[in-house]
């Protein structure tokens, strides 16, 4: 017996099984099942709880396998170029979305006026394969204006930012609302979170002075809770800080703009001692001197990284164009009013 011929027979049988399986996987009935499962998954999924992503991932994986098999084997799809392009684009969208989820980053940060972003986020969620380059995305908040309409309804936000580009040149831009700052793929958006930021200088007796801001709770949402407790750097000393002013900054009866009050007092409580500070005032403490420098504003940002965005957009446009093309051809064969 010729062994090589026998081997070929075995591998042919294997090939035959594989082809049969591929055909089964390509079943359009499976597509219907996949759509039902995906719909159920989408209804059951609770994004707020951050759980149950598998409810979407599992049916999508089945759908992607079904779709890939159909693209390889289904005669109808293969013979109609537009239909083929549509389904390929659909597969690309699923794969890109998956790649995006594995590598994305979403986070929040706050910067006082004049402060530069150091790469530290207050809250962050990221895909398991995200390789952070955030430390390269350095920019500083150069101040902002937010207009309010009657009834204290927020209108446009304009935030000046500054950064140094790759060639070492300084760049400036105004971002806000729909316009993010994009640095190294990270998109920084202003958020509705913003407020007052007293700036302090802490001069310990042993060590170098440090300047820092205390970002009070978001304004005007927490208008009546403009206080915060924080610790002096590298000490156990807790400092309670409250901002007081009488002025109506955002008048419900007319348009206005978020700005610093023309007069304010900063109440600072350290242990039993209560101080009312004006800008420039100092408090002598056992470990050093705390100076209240001035009142400033902070801005809250969200940062989003997803390299797939332009590819996803392209795949979506391709999908919808191919879909329209396919049906245009199909319907053109017979008039609409036949």
């Amino acid at each position: 017996m010729n062994t090589s011929a026998a081997n070929a027979g075995v591998s042919n049988t294997g090939g035959w099984y594989a082809a049969a399986w591929l055909h089964r996987l390509a079943s359009t009935r499976l597509t219907l099942l996949f759509i039902v499962l995906l719909a159920c998954g989408v209804i059951a999924y609770e994004p707020a709880a951050g759980r149950g992503a598998w409810l979407i991932v599992a049916p999508l994986s089945l759908g992607a396998a079904n779709l890939a098999a159909a693209i390889l084997t289904n005669a109808v799809i293969r013979q109609h170029t537009a239909l083929l392009v549509f389904h390929l684009a659909l597969l690309a969208i699923v794969l890109l979305a998956a790649a995006g989820r594995l590598t994305y980053l979403k986070g929040q940060l706050e910067l006082a006026e004049g402060e530069a972003f150091s790469g530290q986020l207050m809250q962050v969620e990221r895909g398991p394969w995200h390789r952070s380059q955030l430390e390269r995305a350095v920019f500083s908040n150069e101040g902002y204006t937010i207009r309010y309409e009657k009834g204290v309804r927020r209108a446009d936000t304009r935030n000046a930012v500054r950064w140094v580009d790759e060639s070492g040149r300084e760049q400036r831009a105004v971002i806000g609302d729909h316009t993010p700052l994009t640095l190294h793929g990270y998109r920084f958006y202003t958020s509705f979170n913003k407020g007052f930021a007293p700036v302090f200088i802490w001069q310990p007796f042993a060590g170098v002075p440090q300047r820092g801001s205390v970002n009070l709770p978001s304004y005007p949402i927490h208008e009546y809770r403009q206080a915060l407790e924080w610790n002096l750097p590298a000490t156990q000393t807790s400092v309670w800080t409250m901002l007081q002013f009488d002025e109506v900054l955002l008048d419900p009866d007319k348009p206005s703009q978020l700005r610093l009050p023309s007069q304010h007092a900063l109440v600072v409580r350290i242990g039993e001692a209560r101080h009312e500070l004006a800008p420039g005032a100092r408090i002598a403490l056992p470990q050093g001197v705390l100076t209240y420098e001035r009142l400033s504003l902070w801005m809250g940002y969200t940062v989003f990284y997803d390299w797939t965005l332009p590819w996803l957009a392209a795949a979506c446009v391709l999908a919808v164009a191919a879909l329209a093309w396919h049906f245009r051809r199909k319907f053109a064969a017979q008039p609409w009013d036949a």
């Binding site: 989408v42 999924y45 998109r187 919808v320 609409w336």
Partner: protein, 270 residues
């Protein structure tokens, strides 16, 4: 009453007259098509002036309050229906199905408050117009399909077999309804894409499964299911018609139910 509201009432009266004429024409098997179209078109013009006056007065388009959204959708749905009515004569008897649906929306509009709403900063973008335009074409195309599907179901239920006798057979009607569904499918896909682009700009994420996104996606999935079921099994015309009704109900709830029931941040306020 302001002129803006007077014009609105006038338009609604014209639509009601058009609808009643269409229904009467179907029941009595009379040819009333030109009058129906004329009444709808005059109504659309009057309604457009009313919407324009309000736009001018409040400084933004009809996108915010339920009253505005219902008003602008009654207008755009009727515009799309009138276009189909004009260009595709087989669609005309569907007016007897479509107009009552619009009556419900008009009635609902009349009990909502016509007061002003707040126009959030996230709405100040061209994507709003693109997204809304696609959405309106989507819903309008599905409504036309619903009208035709209604005729198929009426015929199947034995209503006015003679009155509907002049129509093409149900299989041909189904094919026509399917075409409008596909038009809707293409525009719904465009609406979802435009919405995702807008969401990326406005909220820094393109998709987050908020209730509106979820239900819009479910509507899209239902349509995909319909397309595939139709290609996989030889669906009877009345089965297709039921699918079409189902898609419309989902789309209707997504447009007019979810944003006003959920407190999720899709309205972009704060």
């Amino acid at each position: 009453m302001t002129i803006e509201l007077q014009l609105l009432w006038g338009a609604l009266a014209l639509y009601t007259l058009a609808g009643s004429t269409a229904i009467g024409g179907t029941v009595l098997a009379r040819r009333v098509e030109r009058s129906v179209l004329a009444l709808i078109v005059i109504g659309l013009v009057v309604h457009a002036v009313s919407i324009g006056l309000r736009w001018e007065r409040v400084g933004h388009g009809p996108f915010i309050t339920m009253f505005e959204i219902l008003s602008s959708n009654v207008w755009s749905l009727l515009l799309i229906f009138a276009l189909a009515y004009w260009r595709v004569p087989a669609v005309r008897p569907a007016a007897a199905v479509v107009m009552p649906i619009l009556f419900v929306m008009m009635g609902w509009m009349l009990v909502t408050s016509p007061g002003d709403g707040h126009y959030p900063p996230t709405y100040r973008t061209v994507w709003l117009y693109i997204h809304v335009f696609f959405g309106k074409v989507f819903l309008g195309a599905v409504l036309v399909a619903v009208g035709i599907a209604g005729l198929i179901l009426l015929r199947r239920a034995g209503f006015g077999v003679q009155r509907l006798a002049r129509l093409p057979d149900s299989a041909r009607l189904e094919n026509l309804a399917f075409r409008f569904m596909i038009l809707g499918f293409v525009f719904e896909t465009l609406m979802l894409i435009a919405g995702a682009v807008w969401a990326q700009d406005a909220w820094g994420r393109y998709w987050a499964w908020d209730p509106l996104e979820t239900w819009a996606f479910l509507t899209w999935l239902t349509l995909a299911f319909f397309v595939h079921a139709r290609a996989t099994f030889r669906l009877q015309p009345h089965h297709s018609a039921l699918f079409i009704m189902g898609v419309f109900v989902l789309a209707f709830l997504t447009f007019f139910g979810v944003p006003f029931v959920s407190t999720a941040p899709h309205k972009g306020a704060v």
